[in-house]
């Protein structure tokens, strides 16, 4: 393969993809040349991953609008296999390797060299050895994947892509899990590949890496292309401006909260990665919240925002460090039950996974966390529960036939309100909200915003994590910005502009951003 720089290797024209109720991609066009590294950046939810799933055949032809051309020929991928055959390999952030199998077996999974259906192990391993040598990865291909570090696993994924003779390689946050030395190795390999004419699409939140590596940068925002330019024609400030772009509309009911005493304080919180010993997801983060205050926590995916809250709440037992003070007194929280007893509530992200019992009634969901307060310690008091549940239905305007409706049948917005009600029924003094409006419609969002303001007015201390910058800026009295597990900025409501916050979220310190 020789670098035929300039010719369009890939062209995606006018791609549109809708999910029920949402237009995730709205006429996006994107092209890639051979021997080019084209960076794709944008806020969480801008549509980057959706676009790559269209390209990789995860969303088959017919489920999206627009056209895809490879080498000028129109393509209609019915599935991942067909995209692979056209030379497209997507390496997702979560690696798709089988831990129990060897490197070689993983590289050729489903495409094993065989004769009469019998796998030819010698050929498999000799080909694997050559691929690994190409990547300057000095490991035996008979090593089980589980014994490799994340960085090496990533390289195995690349080897797998190369074994399919991929000419278009998509890397989704490839450095998210890598140590610095591993990042350098990866970059060297990417440069090699570029020299060999492979076109690469590079998705990353880390703008310094993007500027170091890319030839061109495309910014996506709200499912649209904001612009594609040569990297040398851009600087970080302009990219950030394109990423945030949107006005903080007046959808946020302004509310000036009168703040009281510091109710909750966390000092030097650390949370260790459950899979990689010694790797910290949260690095010595400290914060405090006053009664009646909303503290916003901003940051990009993987910044450690959820892990911070989970750790403080006692949900990451055994791998959390740091100190917690409630009303100024040192408090030990080793399990969620401790946290709840001390007056903490936690509306977790991903309500289906962490929040709801989908098979059960609204009522059983609402009373789960506060059951022993509502009822006796052993006997449940169905009537006291029903009364409390029906009050919460009215207060939070949950739309359902009755409290006995099964939670799984509700709309996202109403499900979220049920989770909120669950925590309000524990009478918390401090409420953590992690992505409280993800995946719910605009109307329900408004109602949740109003509720957050009401709770703050009533004196609750609120910590709000959200990926939607306007939401954080619109609701918070103060904003804390995390990047890779570290606090990179703290702003008052007046100081916080989208540009400054995004600059900190992409790794700049506050001084440079200001």
């Amino acid at each position: 393969m020789t670098a035929t720089n300039g010719a369009a290797l890939l062209e995606m024209r006018n791609i549109t993809k809708t999910f029920p109720g949402v237009r995730a991609l709205d006429g996006v066009s994107f092209d890639l040349r051979a021997g080019e590294l084209h960076a794709l950046v944008g806020e969480n939810g801008a549509g980057k991953s959706t676009l790559m799933k269209v390209l990789g055949g995860v969303y088959p032809h017919g489920s999206y609008g627009g056209e895809i051309f490879v080498d000028g020929k129109p393509q209609r991928f019915g599935g991942v296999r067909e995209a692979e055959r056209a030379g497209i390999a997507v390496i997702f952030q979560e690696l798709s390797l089988v831990r129990e199998m060897t490197i070689g077996e993983n590289i050729f999974l489903g495409r094993e060299p065989r004769r009469f259906g019998v796998v030819r192990r010698e050929e498999l391993y000799s080909r694997a050895t050559r691929l690994l040598e190409n990547l300057r990865l000095a490991v035996d291909p008979r090593t089980p994947i589980g014994e490799l570090g994340i960085g090496q696993q990533q390289l195995v994924e690349i080897a797998k892509a190369l074994s399919q003779e991929a000419r278009i390689l998509v890397l989704d946050e490839p450095t998210a899990a890598l140590a610095n030395a591993e990042v350098e190795t990866l970059f060297r390999i990417l440069r090699d590949l570029r020299a060999r004419g492979v076109g690469m699409i590079y998705i990353s939140h880390k703008l310094d890496e993007v500027f170091r590596m890319s030839d061109r940068i495309t910014v996506l925002r709200d499912g649209r292309t904001v612009g594609t330019d040569k990297t040398t024609d851009l600087d970080e400030r302009r990219v950030i401006a394109r990423m945030v772009g949107r006005e903080v509309g007046d959808i946020f009911p302004q509310a000036d909260h009168t703040r009281g005493q510091v109710v909750f304080e966390a000092r030097d919180v650390t949370v260790e990665d459950p899979n990689v010993r010694g790797k910290l997801l949260v690095k010595r983060v400290s914060f405090r919240v006053r009664a009646g205050e909303v503290l916003g926590v901003a940051g990009l995916m993987g910044a450690g925002r959820s892990d911070l809250l989970m750790g403080v709440f006692g949900a990451h037992a055994g791998r959390t460090g740091g100190e917690v003070f409630i009303d100024g007194a040192r408090t030990h929280i080793t399990r969620p039950a401790d946290a709840i007893r001390k007056g903490l509530g936690f509306v977790t992200e991903d309500r289906k996974r962490f929040g709801l019992l989908l098979d059960q009634t609204i009522l059983n969901n609402m009373t789960l966390a506060g059951l022993s307060k509502l009822s006796g310690r052993f006997l449940t008091d169905e009537d006291a529960e029903t009364a409390a549940g029906e009050r919460a239905m009215v207060d939070l305007r949950i739309k359902a036939n009755s409290v006995l409706t099964v939670a799984g049948t509700l709309s996202g917005g109403n499900q979220q309100k049920v989770v909120l009600a669950k925590w309000l029924l524990t009478n918390p003094r401090v409420l953590f909200l992690d992505e409280p409006t993800r995946g719910i419609d605009v109307g329900a969002k408004q109602e949740i915003y109003r509720e957050i303001n009401r709770l703050a007015r009533e004196g609750l201390a609120i910590v709000l994590v959200s990926s939607e910058l306007p939401e954080v800026l619109g609701l918070s009295d103060r904003v804390l910005v995390l990047h890779e597990g570290r606090v990179t900025g703290e702003f008052t409501r007046a100081d916080a502009t989208p540009e400054k916050v995004m600059a900190c979220a992409t790794g700049h310190t506050q001084e440079r951003a200001a």
Binding site: F19, P20, G21, V22, A24, G45, K48, S49, Y59, S63, F92, Q93, E94, D172, E173, A176, I203, M301, G302, A315, P336, I340, R341, T348, R353, F354, L356, L357, L358, D359, Q360, T361, N364, T367, L368, A369, L371, S372, S375, G376, L379, T380, D381, E382, D383, T386, A387, E390, T405, V406, G408, T409, L410, G412, K422, E435, R438, G439, I440, E468
Partner: protein, 416 residues
């Protein structure tokens, strides 16, 4: 994966870390574990129990029709004598199923209950020398200790319940053989023996029935008072009266039918007691509520401050006690403790739960359903025996019914 059955898998964003664009997951078609019949939306879990109740009635009608003969022009199956026998036959399975239900609802399984019941039975039979109370309580205590040990291994040592109790099945089977030295030990204490085969005197049956009716009435009245206290709408006088009179009629009919052939069998009373306690535990206590939460969504349960370990351990302890009680009923009924007693009972108990609408994934099922499931299995056994169906066919039929019950349920859910 029962849960995913109702959810359309197509065109849903595969969640990798960067995805979940806010808004994209919006209002996706949610699984709907509810079924609409007319204008009533019934949770599917209870629906299966009611469907099975309906199936039970059909089975009864069939056997009643099939057992019509010259001596029994109206059929033999539901006659007082056979019906009483049928209920006695289901007692052991019904008792075990009640305990098994709690374990399964918590997302666990117990494969050892048959072996545990066998072992507890041998211990009880051996301990008859020390007197009645030590003998009976020994069986229950053995069950409790084994349940606690196995539960601790599951909850605290994080060994999967399937493995722990499969090991238990083998080990306790071995213990039965060792402890009994392969001998059959007869039950000699008269009270012990009567536990499995005697009836309470008809007046006692009537007294129990009256007590049951009084309890039903009292519960309804209290319920209404409590609802008014919380400013909820309470049932009107008419509805309340119906809620008392209908169950009361069932109780009266049951007691009269049983008394017409000697009285209510003691094993049936034990079963009813265990089932009522089980229903109370699962539906009216925080313990029960937490079991459903743990089985339905362990992450959500943990984050809601529920101790998974404590409650899983407790579920296994309850199961152990229940296995002890079942061992007494079985030993008494057979008249002796045999080395192979309790063989395959765990599978009957699990099948009863599943037929009655329990999800093996955890989080769903009722004691009522499990008892109905046990009743269906016993009815098939009893009816086919009356018709002289060969035992190998009986097994095939029971197996087919188990698979069909779950199959219909899955079909119904896919449509819904």
């Amino acid at each position: 994966m029962e849960r995913s059955a109702g959810e359309p898998e197509t065109d849903r964003p595969v969640v990798t870390a960067d995805v979940a664009p806010p808004g994209v997951v919006v209002e996706e078609a949610t699984s709907a574990p509810q079924t609409r019949i007319g204008r009533f939306a019934i949770p599917t879990a209870s629906l299966r129990a009611y469907t099975m109740l309906f199936a039970l009635v059909l089975i009864w009608i069939f056997f009643q029709w099939a057992t019509i003969s010259e001596q029994h022009p109206y059929g033999l199956f539901l006659g007082a004598v056979n019906f009483s026998k049928l209920l006695q036959q289901m007692a052991v399975t019904g008792v075990l199923a009640t305990g098994m239900l709690m374990v399964i609802v918590a997302g666990q399984i117990d494969l050892s209950v048959g072996a545990v019941a066998g072992f507890a039975g041998v211990v009880a039979a051996t301990w008859q020398d020390y007197g009645l109370v030590p003998s009976l309580s020994a069986a229950v205590l053995v069950g409790l200790l084994i349940g606690a040990t196995q539960g601790a291994l599951v909850a605290y040592a994080n060994i999967p319940a399937f493995i722990v109790t499969l090991g238990g099945l083998l080990a306790w089977r071995g213990a039965v053989l060792g402890y009994s030295e392969g001998n059959t030990i007869p039950v000699v204490l008269p009270v012990f023996k009567s536990l499995g085969r005697d009836f309470v005197a008809p007046p006692v049956g009537i007294a129990l029935g009256v007590a049951a009716i009084a309890a039903i009435a009292w519960i309804n009245v209290r319920r209404n008072q409590a609802r008014r206290r919380h400013n909820l709408t309470a049932a009107g006088t008419g509805v309340t009266a119906l809620r008392i009179i209908l169950p009361a009629l069932l109780v009266v009919g049951f007691v009269l039918l049983m008394n017409s052939q000697g009285g209510v069998p003691i094993p049936v009373i034990v079963l009813l007691a265990v089932a009522i306690v089980g229903a109370f535990l699962t539906e009216r206590t925080t313990f029960g509520r937490y079991l459903y939460a743990i089985g339905g969504n362990p992450d959500a349960a943990r984050l809601s401050g529920i101790s998974l370990r404590k409650h899983i351990l407790a579920a296994f302890c309850v199961m152990g006690v229940v296995a002890g009680i079942a061992s007494l009923l079985h030993t008494a009924r057979v008249g002796s403790a045999t080395p192979d007693a309790g063989n395959l009972m765990e599978l009957d108990a699990i099948a009863a739960c599943v037929i009655g609408g329990t999800s093996l994934m955890g989080g769903r099922g009722t004691v009522f359903g499990a008892v109905v499931g046990a009743l269906i299995m016993a009815s098939l056994d009893n009816g086919m025996s009356l018709l002289d169906v060969e035992s190998y066919i009986q097994n095939i039929v029971k197996g087919a019914v188990l698979v069909a019950a779950v199959g219909f349920d899955m079909l119904g859910r896919r449509r819904g």
